[in-house]
């Protein structure tokens, strides 16, 4: 048999009918929904008199447009009428179509990409879709997981399938050991810096190598999460004992004999010896340093020891103009060292970096120190479960004593949609995934960093190399 990649294996197991050309109808095992991109899909269903084919494979939670304070108040505590209507609409649609729904005030609530794996909805070998580009997160478990639009969400609701063209594949191999203070976030930012935000367009990335194998599931999810920022539709990692151990006992994961049977199957989910990827790139883990973005695209990134680039040094006029535009928006002058740049806000959260491991890394820096005067610092756990676990470990006390705000789960300041956002001109060290203009609020200036780097920046009141504080 011809050697196959991990992607090809999952594709083959789900491609159920050829549609002509290189397009196939593929079966979808899990469909996740949230309040912002789903209402129009349900309206479409109703208008056509259709129903949800597999409500038992469909799960809904409100995360983007929810406040991160006063959670116990539930839906009633959402003051903004438009936000209230959006969350109420999701609740109503879930009820009407018989879908599992994680209530805002309930124990299972959280960011959809944090909750899916936590519940064991995310399983190796599954196809997983959600109307959100960071669905790529779930690929950390060896699933094929990708973001879809609202029309496609309607398609999945009605048919449990999607017409898809096969992607090309890119292998990103990271060998060696990460240095102290260097995290999965730095690895993915380094990859994006290397290949650019369109570097993997049309591709699914498979991450492999000893640095990935040594990484915990939170780190792997961070890496797969930001595959989309490299232009990829999905990221994936072959599942191994680290993944199986993480999944064991999750409410929706198989149990007992079924779990053992599942693991036996899951072990075959890896690229065969001799399977070829369309593109291969290699990174040396030891050469990666803590990273920080300086511009308004995730590829505008350098190390914390780096400086702001000089547009004058750029030969391509379009690129030169783009750099100059980014520097004007970010209010940065060419040649300025990034270390030492004063910040107004630090945000630790988002589906990229809000898991218990991320919070522990930030707390390790915050412990016994205090947020700099004038800096607003938020810690927003990715889910109610992460919040409970962190409180069980006393991390909330570490954070609040250090002057961080300790919030309820949600997307929060990752996007300027809910009440948590930057004011115009504010500069933020953020653990989220996008530094686009206005992403965290109109006029806000975002520097993407790891959780430890964000905590260090909060305490120093400026961007700083976390390795000087450890």
């Amino acid at each position: 048999m011809t050697p196959r990649t991990l992607y090809q294996k999952i594709w083959d197991a789900h491609a159920i009918a050829p549609l002509g050309g290189d397009e196939w109808l593929i079966y979808i095992d899990r469909h996740l929904l949230y309040e912002v991109t789903s209402p129009q899909a349900f309206d479409g269903l109703r208008a056509a008199g259709r129903t949800v084919r597999r409500p038992d494979l469909t799960f809904a939670v409100a995360d983007h447009n929810v406040p991160t304070e006063n959670r116990a108040g539930g839906l009633a505590a959402i003051a903004d009428p438009d936000s209230h209507l959006q969350v109420a609409t999701l609740e109503r649609n879930a009820r009407e179509f018989g879908l599992a729904y994680a209530d805002l005030a309930g124990p299972r609530h959280g960011i959809v990409h944090v909750v899916g794996p936590e519940l064991g909805l995310t399983l190796p070998g599954a196809t997983i879709v959600c109307g959100d580009s960071h669905t790529s997160t779930h690929g950390a478990f060896g699933a094929l997981a990708f973001g879809i639009g609202t029309s496609e969400a309607e398609h999945v609701l009605a048919t449990q399938t999607l017409p898809q063209k096969k992607s090309r594949t890119m292998l990103v191999r990271i060998e060696g050991t990460l240095g102290t203070g260097v995290t999965a976030k730095d690895v993915i930012l380094a990859i994006i810096g290397r290949i650019g935000t369109a570097g993997a367009t049309g591709h699914v990335i498979e991450y492999a190598g000893s640095a990935i194998e040594a990484m915990d599931m939170a780190g792997r999810m961070t890496i797969c999460n930001m595959s989309i920022e490299a232009g990829a539709r999905a990221g994936m990692i072959a599942p191994d004992d680290t993944a199986f151990a993480w999944l064991e006992g999750r409410p929706c994961a198989p149990r007992g004999a079924a779990f053992a049977e599942a693991i036996a199957q899951w072990r075959t989910l890896r690229s065969d010896e001799g399977a070829t990827h369309d593109v291969e790139i290699r990174l040396d883990a030891a050469a990666i340093a803590p990273m920080v973005t300086w511009g308004t695209s995730p590829e505008a990134v350098t190390t914390i020891a780096g400086t702001v680039p000089d547009p004058a040094a750029e030969p391509d006029p379009a690129r030169r103009g783009q750099i100059a535009h980014m520097l004007a928006y970010m209010d940065l002058e060419p040649g300025r060292p990034l270390a030492g740049l004063p910040i107004d806000v630090a945000f630790i959260g988002s589906c990229t970096n809000s898991r218990i491991e991320d919070l522990r890394a930030a707390a390790a820096i915050a412990r016994g120190r205090h947020v700099a005067p004038g800096v607003r610092a938020l810690v927003v756990p990715g889910s109610a479960a992460v919040k409970r676990q962190a409180e069980g470990e006393g991390l909330d006390v570490v954070f609040t004593r250090a002057g961080f705000q300790w919030r309820d789960a949600g997307c929060s300041m990752c996007l300027g949609l809910n009440p948590d956002r930057l004011a115009p001109g504010e500069r933020c060290a953020s653990t989220s995934n996008r530094n686009f203009e206005g992403r965290q609020g109109p006029g806000g200036r975002t520097h993407l960093v790891s959780p430890a780097m964000a905590a260090a920046a909060a305490i120093a009141g400026r961007l700083v190399d976390v390795r000087e504080m450890a």
Binding site: I16, E152, L415
Partner: protein
């Protein structure tokens, strides 16, 4: 139901920015809606309006004749970022039916097709020529013909490639969902097989999470 696209004649507006992201096309502030309608007001909002909500007079879409533009000429990686279909809905509501760029982000490209917006990929050199023509009012009108796969512009006619399946669907405005429901046997057959071979995929026991 997908809107059909056959030909479009209109003003082309140059947008010489690479990596135009979906936050730029329609920022999060406009996502608090449960409808697809009326999003044109938020289209490229930060480029069209200043912080006080006044029009930026220098921006191309605030000038004549480009206020009525129906074609956008843009640079690489157009539509990157979030999967929000609100971005193409906003474009459509504003009146844009076609975007011509050297490359598009995957999800955005698919979302355009679903809404009867034609994304056309052409080489960078062609973009530069179209961009220059679009920047002058007298030469900004173009005709995009999907059936013939051509763009008629001031400088002549150029061809473009598009996947034949996608072209057919756009021309005819097919109902994708009805087409997929036609594969009921294949879908049900797959579901039976998974129940047997990977029962954990077939039944996540969602009742366990209440």
């Amino acid at each position: 139901m997908m809107r059909p696209f056959r030909t479009l004649t209109g003003i082309a507006a140059p947008l010489p920015i690479a990596n135009v992201d979906t936050d730029m096309i329609l920022s999060a502030a406009f996502l608090k809606t449960v409808s697809r309608e009326g999003l044109g007001k938020g289209f490229l909002h930060a480029l069209r309006f200043d912080a006080d909500g006044r029009e930026r007079p220098g921006f191309v879409l605030n000038r004549q004749p480009w206020r009525a533009a129906s074609i956008l000429i843009a640079l690489d990686n157009f539509g990157c970022g979030s999967s929000r279909e609100h971005a193409p809905w906003a474009m459509l509501d504003f009146g844009i039916g076609c975007v011509i760029a050297p490359s598009f982000a995957d999800i955005f490209h698919g979302n355009c097709l679903k809404n009867g917006i034609l994304p056309i990929r052409v080489p960078r050199a062609t973009i530069d020529a179209l961009m220059a023509a679009a920047a002058t009012a007298e030469t900004a009108t173009m005709t995009v013909d999907l059936e013939r796969g051509s763009i008629d512009w001031h400088g002549g006619t150029i061809g473009f490639d598009i996947d034949p399946q996608r072209r057919e669907r756009l021309l005819n405005g097919v109902d994708d969902i009805a087409a997929s429901l036609g594969f009921e046997d294949a879908i049900a057959g797959h579901e039976r097989r998974v129940e047997h071979e990977a029962p954990w995929l077939a039944d996540p026991r969602l009742e366990r999470i209440g």
